[in-house]
Amino acid sequence: MNYFIIGFYALVIGASSLAAFYQKRTAFILLFSLTLVSFVMGIVGGEAMLWSVTILAGLIAFSAGVSYSFREFLVIILPNDMAKEMRTAPLTAGFGLFVIFTYAISGIFAPIIAPYGEAEVITSAFAPADENMLLGADQLGRDMFSRIIYGARNTVGLALLATILAFLMGATAGLYAASKGGKLDQLLGRIVDVIMSIPSLIFSLLLLSIFGTNTTTLIIVIAIIYAPRVYRLARSVGGNVVVMDYIEAAKLRGEGTWYLIRKEILPNSTAPLIAEFGLEFCFVFLLVAGLSFLGLGIQPPTADWGSMVRENATLISFGEITPLIPAGAIALLTVAVNFVVDWMLDRTSGLKE
C-alpha cells in the first residue's frame, strides 16, 4: 500500500459520499460505481491499473474542461441569438465544435504548422520520436506529425468537397421531385434505387478502376454514391412541406418551381438536411479512408490518413502505436462531428414541439 493507492480510494469514496450527501443522484451513481470498479481493478491489475483509471479520468476531465471553456468562449464572441443557442448546448457539442475547429485550423494552416513537408524524407524508416519529430517517422523516414497535419487538409478537404457535391445533387433533385411529383418523381426514385442497390465500396472500386484515380474523379464518384441517400431524405422532408397551405398559396400566386424550392421548401427542410450532412460527412470520410487503404483513394506521396494507416500497419506487430495515430485522428473527428450532429438533431426535434 503506497500513498497513491490510499489517496486514490480516499478520493473516490470521499467524492461519492459528498455526492450522496448533496443528493446529486447521477453523480453519486457514477462515482460509486467507479469506486466499486476500482476495487476490482485494484485487486486484479494492481497499481498500474489504478494509474490508467486515473489518467483516463483526468483525460475526460480535461476534455470536459476544454469543451466548457470553448463553449463559454463561443458564447462571448458570437452575436446575441447564436450565443443563446450555444449557452443551452450540451458539453459534448462544445467538445465536437472544439475538435472540428482544431482540425480546420491545422488543415488551413498546414504548411505553417507542420515542421517538415509532407513528402520530405528526413531520417531513416520508422525512426522513433525525438526532439525533432514529435511522433517519429513513417516507413520512408518522413515526419509523422507533419503528415498528420497535411492529412487533415487532404482527407478532410476531399471528404468535405465530396459531401457538399453530394448534397447539392441530392437535395436539389429531392426537393424538385417533392415539389413536382408524378412521373419525374418516379423516374428519379427508381434511378436512386438502382444506385443504392449496389454496395457502395464495390461500386466506387468499379467506377474508380474505369475512370482512373485522380482527385476530381474521386470526388465525383463519391458524390454520386452518396447523393441518393440525400435525395431520399430531401424528398421525404420536402414531401411533408409541400402539403402545407403556404405552398398552395405560393402555387396559386403563380410562382415557379425554383422559387418554391428555394424560398418556401428549403428554409423549412434545412434542419434535418444539416444533421444529415454531418452524418454523411462521417460516412464519406470513412469511405475515402477505406479507399485509400485499398490503394484507390488519394495517391502517394500525398499525405492521407487512410493510406497512412495502411503504410505503417507493419509497425503494429512490433508493439508500436504509430499506425493508430492517423486512425485515431479519423475516429476523433467522426466522434466530434456526431456530437455536433446530435446536438442539432436535439434542437430540431425540440423546435417541433
Binding site: 443563446k84 449557452r87 443551452t88 402545407m244 397551405d245 403556404y246 398552395e248 398559396a249 402555387k251 396559386l252 400566386r253 403563380g254 410562382e255 424560398k263 418556401e264 428554409p267 423549412n268 414541439e353
Partner: protein, 553 residues
C-alpha cells in the same frame, strides 16, 4: 341532482410557471378552484388564459417545461397532489381522474381497436377482467347512444366518425368510473350537428354516474349547456366565478361582459346589384377526387362587393368548391366564370392577372404562413410578384398593408410568424391576400380556429376592408353565428349538392329546407335550457344522426 355534496377537488393559490428564455415565467397566477362531487365547472377564457394548464394541474400534471410553483396546493379527495410521488399520481390518473382531449382523432392510437384501448386502464389497475370490461364498454357505448354499441368497439379509430370517436373517448374516460373528468374542448373540432350529440351524451353520462367534471371551452353557449358553475379566466388570473344562470344573466366584470357581447356584431345586409354580370359564377360544376365524386351540379353567383357564405357540415364539399374556383381541382363538368369569361380549369393555365384577382385566406394561419420567412417578405412577395414593386416602393406598400390590417408596421416588419398570436397570424394572411390587390377573396373557415373575441376582430376587419376596397368574399364556414353577422347571401350545401340558397334574411326565416333547419337549430344558444328544450323537441333518443336520417326524408 346529486346525493353527495362534499368537496372533491380543492385547488388553492395555484401558480404554474413555464420555462422560456432561460427563466421561469408565470402562466397561472394564484387561481383558487373548489369543485364538489357531481358538479360540472366550466372554465372559459381566450387562448393563453391558462384553462388547459389548470385542467391538467387538477390531475397533478404539468406539461414539459412547466412546474407548479411554491405555495400551491391541489387537494383531490383529501390527497395533496403536489407532494404525492409520481407513481401514485400515475395510478390516480386514469382510474380516479380521467381526461378527454380536444382531438379524439389524435388521441386514439390508430393501430388498436377502440375496445382494446378502452379496456387498457381497467386491466392495468386490475379493476375489471377483460371480458367484464368489454361488457362494460358496450354498456357505456349504449348509454352514450353510439350506433351498434355491441359492435362499434371492435372497429379501428379511422372507421368511425369524429363525433362517434369523441363519444368513445368519453366512454373510455368513464371506464374506471372516475370521480373527476376533465374535458378539454371536446367539441371544438366538431361541427354543430355533431356537437349536439356529443354534448348531450356527455351531459347525460356525467349526470348518471354523479361524476364531477371540469369543462374547458372558449364557447360560451356550450358552457352554458354543460356547467353548473362557470369560472372566467384571463391571462392566468380568475376574473369571476358564479353559477351558470347568475353568470349569464348578470355578469359583473367588464371582461366577462365583453365576452358576452361578442355575438352582437352584425352588419347590414346588402342587396344584389341589379345590373351587370356576377363577379364569380360557378356553373353546374361536378368534381371528384380520383373516382370519388364530391360535387354534383353546383351553381351559384357572387356579385361584386358582396359576401356569400357557403355553409354545411364537414364533408359537404364546401372547400372543394373553393378548390374548383381557384383551379387546384379542375372540375370534371361545368365551369367557373370570372366577370362573364370562363377561367381555365387548371390554375397552371391561368394568366398572372387571373391568379391575382382571386385570393385565398386559409383556416389554419399556422400552416398558411411559412414559418421561416419574415412578415415583410410574406406580405411583400405578392406585391413584388404581381406589381413589380421593389426597394422603397415595396416597403411603403408593406407598411400600408400592415396599417390596413391594424398592425404596427415598425413592430412587425422583421418578425417571423411563430412569434405572433393566432389572430395576428390570420391578419397577416389577410394582408398577404390583399397585397395582390384582388377583387375576390375566398375565406376558408378563417375564424374557426380562433377565440370568439379574436374572431370578432377578424370579422370586423374583413367587413371594413370590404367597404374600403369593394371586395367580394366567399365565406366558407360551418359556424352559423358568423354567417349571421357577415353574410349577404347564403348557400347551404350537403353531400356535395347545393340544398338551398338565397339572401340571408330569407334564409334565416322559416320555412327552411329540412337540412337548413337542422343546421340552424343546432347552433348553441346562450340560454342554459336550450339543449334540454331542443332535445325534447327532437326526441331525446334520436338526436343527431338519427334526427338527420328522419329529416332527410
Amino acid at each position: 341532482m346529486s346525493q353527495d355534496k362534499t368537496v372533491l377537488l380543492n385547488i388553492k393559490n395555484l401558480i404554474i410557471e413555464g420555462y422560456s428564455d432561460e427563466k421561469w415565467v408565470g402562466i397561472v397566477h394564484g387561481v383558487d378552484l373548489k369543485l364538489h362531487r357531481g358538479e360540472v365547472m366550466g372554465l372559459i377564457g381566450e387562448s393563453g388564459a391558462g384553462k388547459s394548464t389548470i385542467g391538467l394541474a387538477a390531475m397533478g400534471f404539468t406539461k414539459d417545461g412547466c412546474r407548479i410553483g411554491e405555495g400551491s396546493s391541489i387537494e383531490f379527495d383529501g390527497m395533496e397532489l403536489t407532494t404525492t410521488p409520481q407513481s401514485d399520481l400515475q395510478s390516480l390518473r386514469g382510474s380516479r381522474i380521467a381526461y378527454v382531449a380536444q382531438s379524439a382523432a389524435a388521441s386514439f392510437n390508430p393501430a388498436h381497436k377502440l375496445i382494446d384501448q378502452h379496456t387498457e386502464a381497467p386491466l392495468q389497475y386490475r379493476i375489471q377482467k377483460r371480458l367484464e370490461s368489454q361488457e362494460d364498454a358496450m354498456e357505456l357505448y349504449e348509454k352514450l347512444r353510439l350506433p351498434n354499441p355491441r359492435e362499434i368497439g371492435f372497429r379501428y379509430p379511422h372507421q368511425v366518425s369524429g363525433g362517434q370517436l369523441q363519444r368513445a373517448m368519453t366512454a373510455m374516460a368513464m371506464a374506471c368510473r372516475p370521480d373527476l373528468i376533465i374535458f378539454d374542448e371536446p367539441t371544438t373540432a366538431l361541427d354543430v350537428t355533431t356537437q349536439i350529440e356529443v354534448l348531450s351524451a356527455i351531459r347525460d353520462i356525467v349526470d348518471q354516474f354523479n361524476t364531477a367534471a371540469i369543462y374547458i371551452t372558449h364557447d360560451l353557449a356550450v358552457v352554458a349547456q354543460m356547467a353548473d358553475v362557470i369560472k372566467v379566466l384571463l391571462k392566468g388570473n380568475e376574473v369571476e366565478e358564479a353559477d351558470t344562470r347568475t353568470m349569464l344573466s348578470n355578469p359583473q366584470d367588464d371582461y366577462t361582459k365583453s365576452l358576452w357581447a361578442v355575438r352582437d356584431f352584425k352588419r347590414d345586409q346588402k342587396p344584389r346589384p341589379t345590373e351587370g354580370s356576377p363577379l364569380i359564377s360557378v356553373k353546374n360544376v361536378d368534381a371528384s377526387y380520383g373516382d370519388t365524386p364530391v360535387l354534383h351540379d353546383v351553381s351559384f353567383d357572387i356579385y361584386e362587393g358582396m359576401t356569400v357564405a357557403v355553409v354545411g357540415e364537414s364533408g359537404s364539399g364546401k372547400s372543394t368548391v373553393a378548390r374548383c374556383i381557384t383551379g387546384l381541382l379542375p372540375p370534371t363538368k361545368g365551369e367557373c366564370l370570372f366577370k362573364g369569361t370562363p377561367l381555365p380549369p387548371d390554375y397552371r393555365d391561368r394568366s398572372k392577372d387571373q391568379l391575382r384577382q382571386a385570393q385565398m385566406i386559409y383556416q389554419m394561419a399556422d400552416t398558411a404562413l411559412n414559418p421561416k420567412v419574415k412578415i415583410s417578405e410574406i406580405i411583400g412577395r405578392p406585391a413584388q410578384f404581381y406589381s413589380g414593386l421593389t426597394g422603397p416602393a415595396l416597403k411603403n406598400r408593406v407598411d400600408e398593408l400592415l396599417d390596413l390590417i391594424e398592425l404596427e408596421p415598425a413592430q412587425y416588419y422583421n418578425r417571423y410568424p411563430p412569434e405572433l398570436s393566432g389572430g395576428q397570424k390570420q391578419r397577416i394572411g389577410i394582408a398577404r391576400s390583399l397585397a395582390a390587390e384582388p377583387t375576390f377573396i375566398i375565406c376558408d373557415e378563417v375564424t374557426s380556429a380562433l377565440d370568439q373575441l379574436v374572431a370578432e376582430g377578424i370579422l370586423r376587419l374583413l367587413d371594413k376592408l370590404q367597404n374600403e376596397l369593394n371586395l367580394s368574399y366567399m365565406f366558407i364556414t360551418h359556424d352559423l353565428a358568423t354567417v349571421r353577422s357577415i353574410a349577404d347571401e347564403v348557400v347551404v350545401m350537403q353531400y356535395g349538392k347545393v340544398v338551398e340558397q338565397g339572401p340571408k334574411d330569407v334564409m334565416f326565416k322559416p320555412p327552411h329546407h329540412a337540412y337548413t333547419d337542422l343546421l340552424l337549430s343546432s347552433v348553441p344558444e346562450m340560454d342554459p335550457d336550450w339543449l334540454t328544450t331542443l332535445l325534447e323537441e327532437r326526441g331525446v333518443d334520436d338526436i343527431g344522426e338519427a334526427a338527420k336520417a328522419n329529416k332527410r326524408d
